[in-house]
């Protein structure tokens, strides 16, 4: 018997477990400038490497003369493809089953492509060296449009054409043309065509989801240090998947994997940019092996925007059919996907168009067909998931635009059209026409809550009045009501269908409880601002009954962390969060046996309660987890090994399907094209909520990135393949001045298959936000005959829409 004056509520509070807005443990370092990002890594004798890049989008390289560069003071080496070829490193595999030049091998395929790597004592000497490398180019015809590329005699990738001119299959099957990469299909073609042919109503639309870029504030970079004495390579870098990088480095370099240590230090935002493997990483490694010294490579902003990791660039053509009453009967989607010069999309290997087949959205659509054609052009490679699960932003934008277009065709309210087509609560688990099994959802509840909160009917009445006033010349501002209801597919994923280069997409957690009742847990993921050190400790606190403040979370060092596939596609909470809970439960199971031994009862006679095991029916008899931890290290317990540690590798049985309902109210000045966001309401259902403060922060950030993409952010090229948006002068990143305040709300529909019911939230606001902002702009012009205009809706394009609709008098 012990005195225990703490109430149960206080004990729960002391844990700072799941559900509380625990303040972030990361912040002390960051607010004092004590973060440790890759460019902060400084090693003795460290050199700096940087690229000679191609000014042309398509050219043959006649010669590369490095002699003058090698004479520049401070320059130690200049690497070209010829130097890498004997090592087999002049090309590297991409995540999409293609290969990519590390350094230009006879030709260049996009502006900014890596041609030579200059290694020097510091950045300035490297820049001097770059100036002195003499490259002779012979310009070739440039293809920047994928439709033209598919009809052109110009061959972009000679390496993928056989000597007799035939086209060997690509990584994803037969190719139709020398600039064609793959065709990927989902669903049933003939039945879909039949349904659409016989439908009461068919709405068709073509839309271009423009090319953009994740543009985290920190660019990509790496520091490679080859220790020739012990044969170990240490590689620091901006890696969203450090273990995968270790395996890839081992496979392409021939170094044994145990001799490679990959470290992701603090990462200054990722948003998908830091999933892939880039030539800079490879060159820093080779340069370190060649020089025997540590070599750093850091992108500047222009390198970042022009060469690593574009997103989107999908030309989508849709047909949607419905009954006269508005019940959707079929959906057809064709995508022409511009992948640039190499197919370097960061998707699970079997999904060359990612999870684009979630494009039936939140709706009960009985028949559907999707076909995606991947195409090479003279643009940068990439195709990353910019703050979304693989291609889910494109899918959700597509369906949320098609719904609006159908509503116009039906002359129906778009909110009501959504409501009558939602998958009903009783239909879950729901198998969609394109194959996915949605685990859970309650769309009607979320939708009704959202529409009621914003007074949807009132907004529509106000909008109708505004149209009247506009026509009467009383105002020059139109009002748009943007709606979106999204279902994401995140948490890749089940090893049975998701892998990257053969690596199953499970994740992991390893826990060590220390004798005095504190702990360290290591995971296969890596935070880029999501606050893992805070939230994973909360999951564990609730699972093992030790305070979150007594639990250190460590990620990103492959020598210590268990193998995992990293952080992207909102997979950390669904996969590694599940592993954390499962490892915690293993700890708890052993703790139960220890408690029973200490309390001299049978294992089944004790039960877990917040931070302790208590004897059933005798709550005054208990052992706290702290006591149990100590006992694990100081008692010889019959039948039990000493210590208290556990590891879990979690292979999720299914994806998770977060959803949400967003409403945006916007005023648009038709004379300037300037949109003013009056209100933005975001309801998210991410299942069990681990830390509401962090969820809200994720929603604010994701919505702001959605605002950027919808209202102005793009990577644009001219006909010569010159990238016109290579700096922040031209590439739109919103400042505090352009961004509104957001209202956040939630419902909770836990995932039935996830150990704690969590679904992931970091990307939802981006996925749902883009169509919401876009729909608001388009809706403002609906009364004047607008059906669809392409993003980004910058001031000029909005003005142009108003002008084309004859609103300028």
């Amino acid at each position: 018997m012990k005195d225990d004056v703490t109430s149960r509520e206080e004990r729960v509070e002391n844990l700072k477990g799941m559900g509380c807005s625990r303040k972030r443990v990361e912040d002390a370092r960051f607010t004092q400038g004590k973060g440790n990002y890759v460019d902060d890594v400084k090693l003795d004798g460290m050199l700096f490497g940087d690229f000679v890049r191609s000014p042309y989008a398509h050219a043959r390289i006649t010669s590369i003369d490095t002699a003058a560069a090698l004479k520049v003071p401070g320059v130690l080496a200049v690497l070209t493809a010829a130097d890498l070829e004997p090592l087999g490193l002049h090309w590297m595999p991409t995540l999409a089953g293609d290969k990519q030049m590390v350094l230009a091998d006879g030709k260049v395929l996009f502006q900014g492509q890596e041609v030579a790597f200059v290694v020097a004592e510091d950045r300035y000497a490297a820049a001097d060296g770059i100036e002195a490398v003499d490259v002779v180019y012979e310009e070739l015809p440039v293809l920047v449009n994928p439709f033209e590329a598919l009809n052109s005699d110009v061959v972009l990738r000679e390496d993928l054409v056989a000597e007799d001119g035939s086209l060997p299959d690509g990584a994803h099957g037969p190719r139709k043309h020398h600039n064609h990469i793959f065709t990927w299909e989902a669903g049933d073609k003939a039945p879909t065509e039949e349904v659409i042919a016989n439908a009461d109503i068919v709405a068709e639309e073509e839309m271009y989801y423009h090319r953009t870029h994740p543009c985290p504030l920190e660019t990509c970079g790496s520091v490679a240090s080859m220790d020739k004495v012990n044969g170990k390579l240490t590689l620091w870098g901006t890696f969203q998947a450090p273990h995968a990088i270790r395996t890839i480095v081992s496979l392409i370099s021939g170094l044994e994997e145990h001799n490679i240590r990959v470290i992701s230090p603090d990462i200054g935002g990722g948003f998908g940019n830091k999933v892939g493997a880039y030539p800079g990483y490879v060159c820093s490694v080779v340069a370190s092996i060649v020089t025997g010294k540590p070599v750093k490579w850091i992108e500047d902003r222009m390198d970042n925007l022009m060469t690593t990791a574009f997103a989107r660039d999908y030309w989508m053509k849709g047909r949607i059919s419905a009954t006269k009453e508005g019940k959707i009967t079929g959906l057809h989607c064709h995508v022409t996907a511009d992948h640039g010069g190499f197919d370097a999309c960061a998707d699970p290997t079997k999904f060359p168009a990612g999870f684009m087949n979630i494009c039936t959205g939140s709706y009960d659509i009985p028949t559907a067909f999707l076909e995606v054609d991947g195409v090479y052009t003279n643009k940068a490679p990439g195709g990353v998931s910019y703050r979304c699960s693989f291609r889910v932003t494109e899918a959700v934008y597509f369906i949320e635009r098609m719904i609006e277009v159908l509503a116009i065709k039906l002359n129906m309210d778009a909110a009501e059209l959504r409501r009558i087509n939602f998958i009903r609560k009783d239909q879950f688990p729901y198998t969609a026409a394109l194959g996915w099994e949605y685990d859970s959802g309650d769309y009607h509840t979320a939708w009704d809550k959202a529409l009621k909160t914003v007074d949807y009917d009132g907004l529509r009445a106000e909008q109708a009045q505004r149209v009247e006033d506009f026509k009467a010349g009383k105002t020059r501002k139109l009002m748009g009501i943007g709606l979106s209801f999204f279902t994401e597919i995140v948490g890749a994923g089940p090893v049975k269908n998701c892998d990257i280069l053969g690596l199953g997409m499970f994740d992991s957690c390893e826990i060590r409880i220390h004798p005095t009742g504190s702990a360290i847990a290591r995971l296969g993921t890596i935070s880029q601002g999501q606050g893992h050190a805070t939230t994973f400790a909360q999951i564990l606190a609730s699972e093992i009954g030790l305070p979150a403040d007594s639990i250190t979370i460590e990620e990103g060092d492959t020598d210590t962390a268990p193998y995992g596939l990293g952080t992207y596609g909102s997979r950390s909470t669904p996969v590694a969060g599940a592993a954390t809970a499962m490892a915690g439960r293993k700890i708890r199971a052993k703790a139960q046996m220890i408690a029973a031994y200490l309390l001299e009862v049978h294992d089944d006679d004790v039960t877990f309660d917040v931070d302790r095991f208590v004897v059933k029916g005798a709550p005054e008899r208990f052992k706290t987890m702290k006591e149990i931890a100590f006992a694990a290290y100081n008692q010889a317990i019959p039948g039990l090994e000493p210590g208290l540690e556990a590891v879990s590798y979690y292979d999720p049985p299914n994806m998770t399907y977060p959803f949400g309902a967003y409403v945006c109210v916007m005023d648009i000045d038709v004379d300037t094209g300037v949109p003013e966001i009056r209100r933005f309401y975001a309801l998210d259902d991410c299942g069990t909520r681990i830390n509401p403060m962090i969820i809200e922060g994720q929603v604010h950030g994701g919505l702001t990135e959605a605002l950027a993409v919808a209202l102005g952010q793009e990577i644009a090229y001219d006909d010569m393949g010159n990238c016109k948006t290579g700096t922040l002068m031209d590439f739109f990143l919103p400042t505090a001045w352009e961004v509104p305040n957001y209202e956040t709300d939630y419902t909770v529909t836990p995932s039935p298959h996830h150990p704690i019911g969590a679904k992931g939230v970091g990307e939802s606001p981006h996925v749902g936000g883009v169509p919401c902002f876009s729909n608001a702009v388009q809706d403002a012009f609906r009364a004047f005959g607008n059906t669809h205009t392409n993003m980004p809706h910058d001031h000029w394009r909005i003005w142009k829409t108003a002008n084309e609709l004859g609103l300028h008098g």
Partner: protein, 164 residues
């Protein structure tokens, strides 16, 4: 290579003296030469503000200024604001109100905000949004940054009042 220049700076209260090429940008002087790595490089074109420091009482983006231009100047970086034992109210407020995520913009953001609150101790939301428009954050959507700055202003004003 040009002749090196003799440059003197006072950074976070400490005198520094060195020879540097005229082309050396101040951000590299801080980060590479002086190992002051709080200010970051985000864009190279003075748009993002991750490199913001205070020079002779003004917020300056150190990525687009030569060290030579700062000769004789007094410079404050995030390392000179508050400290582990006594945090600046802005540092506390950013944690309290979740005003940061990846942390990359945070040193520049807080450094700028110290000047904003010096110039305008009780700013409205609009004044904060305008005054911070030179600092880009990709993670937070600014809502909690604005909240943090307002909270810090209130805290500082209350402390000032209590002291008077």
């Amino acid at each position: 290579m040009s002749k090196k220049m003799h440059i003197k700076l006072n950074v976070n209260g400490k005198d520094e003296e060195f020879l540097a090429e005229p082309r050396e940008l101040l951000i590299y002087t801080l980060r590479e030469r002086l190992n002051i790595t709080g200010p970051h490089i985000g864009c190279d074109t003075s748009h993002c503000g991750a490199c913001t420091v205070t020079i002779n009482g003004k917020s300056v983006k150190s990525c687009t200024m030569f060290a030579a231009q700062a000769d004789g100047a007094e410079i404050t970086t995030i390392e000179g604001i508050g400290g582990a034992d006594e945090l600046h109210p802005l540092q506390t407020a950013f944690k309290e109100h979740h005003g940061l995520q990846c942390g990359f913009c945070t040193p520049g953001m807080i450094t700028r905000a110290t000047k904003l609150l010096e110039e305008n101790p009780d700013p409205t939301e609009e004044e904060i949004r305008f005054g911070m428009a030179g600092n880009i954050c990709r993670c937070t959507g600014y809502q909690n940054i604005v909240k943090s700055i307002r909270a810090a202003a209130a805290e500082m004003n209350a402390a000032k009042e209590a002291a008077e």
